[in-house]
Symmetry: C2
Subunit: 218 residues, 2 copies
């Protein structure tokens, strides 16, 4: 456990054009509140330090918000935990996506934990680090993402899946649940519960209960 007096737990998150806002800011808000009592650092990592928008690439009518990276893939410090959000941008072949996949492949061996949200598991699959593992992803486009990792044991019905030190979640909001499950494992149930109550968030507590698999015909 990392409280305010201990060595910080070093967290990073990858962002790229067209990342899904809630994929990132659900988990990040949990971590923001955790940082009020526990010692964490956060690196927001992209190809350059220019603002990165959630707007879908090549969709000028879509809304988006721009956030500022703190590091590039080249300057990012060593990390303990890497968060990988998804979003429509993962389906583009932008330099940022290619860079993200290379970065995931390179840093994974040094991480304590990797957490992916939604189609972020597609990036991890393309990086090759899910081969031979159980993993899940967004349920609306499950087959499309599963095809990116033919050697992955994709789980169609799961709010999230833990295999070794890789935590993959189902679509968008499931990122909040996998983050709370991870906080509970690392910092304890009391800490996770206090944050969830502060955020007035009703957690999905069972990784195997997944109402949206059925909604999306899986």
């Amino acid at each position: 456990m990392a409280d305010q007096s201990s060595t910080p737990l070093r967290i990073g998150i990858i962002v790229f054009p067209g990342f899904q806002a809630l994929d990132a800011f659900g988990p990040l808000d949990c971590l923001n509140v955790l940082s009020w009592t526990h010692n964490l650092t956060l690196s927001i990592i992209s190809t350059t330090l220019s603002p990165v928008s959630t707007q879908i690439p090549l969709s000028p009518n879509a809304l988006g918000q721009s956030i500022l990276p703190t590091h590039t893939f080249a300057t990012a410090p060593d990390l303990d935990v890497l968060l990988v959000p998804g979003g429509r941008g993962t389906r583009a072949s932008t330099p940022a996506i290619q860079d993200a996949i290379t970065y995931i492949r390179t840093v994974y061996p040094k991480l304590q934990h990797l957490i992916t949200v939604c189609t972020g598991s597609g990036l991890a699959a393309r990086a090759g680090i899910l081969d031979g593992r159980r993993a899940t992803t967004n349920k609306m486009i499950f087959d499309e993402i599963a095809a990116l990792g033919p050697n992955v044991n994709w789980v169609p019905q799961a709010r999230w899946v833990v295999d070794g030190n890789i935590w993959t979640s189902s679509g968008v909001s499931a990122g909040i649940d996998v983050t709370f499950a991870w906080i509970e494992m690392v910092f304890g149930e009391t800490v996770a519960e206090k944050i969830a109550n502060g955020l007035e968030y009703t957690r999905h507590r069972d990784a195997n209960v997944d109402p949206f698999a059925k909604v999306h015909g899986l």
Copy 2:
């Protein structure tokens, strides 16, 4: 209903140092997805165009993320809908908070709807526009926020409250539920349900059912 061929619905959101990330990005992610099929504009409004961080003011150990405003309070266009997030920053007396309160008071008469999340209702209360109305807020610090609006009829047990054209929600995650309720009212249940299923979000559907009032002793 504003589909892609119609006049856009003009949405704005206020941001200030120490806004709560999920208060803003929960509702915004719903609106981002809505914008894939419906014609919306979004203005992100603050005192200046400089990046605005979710980091709590004067708390250097707290994590935060910086987003870019698109307009200042002086340059913001006319709006149909204004979103007001909360967060620890609402409890500071920064210029941004004073400016936000003045802005809410000034633009409210021209809005179709005002939506507040969490302690954002404290800013609306301080602007005087909740006087004589029913409203709710964050349940962990309910009494502290209620004291900001002695002439408001504060509702301790509600996931969200609608009074006239003002929609106030309970803490943080409740902002997602009030946004879906608002989308359902304006764009119809099918649209709201499709977005919630895409975000794999389990909605709180009853405004009067509020598990966190009890959690926080109300």
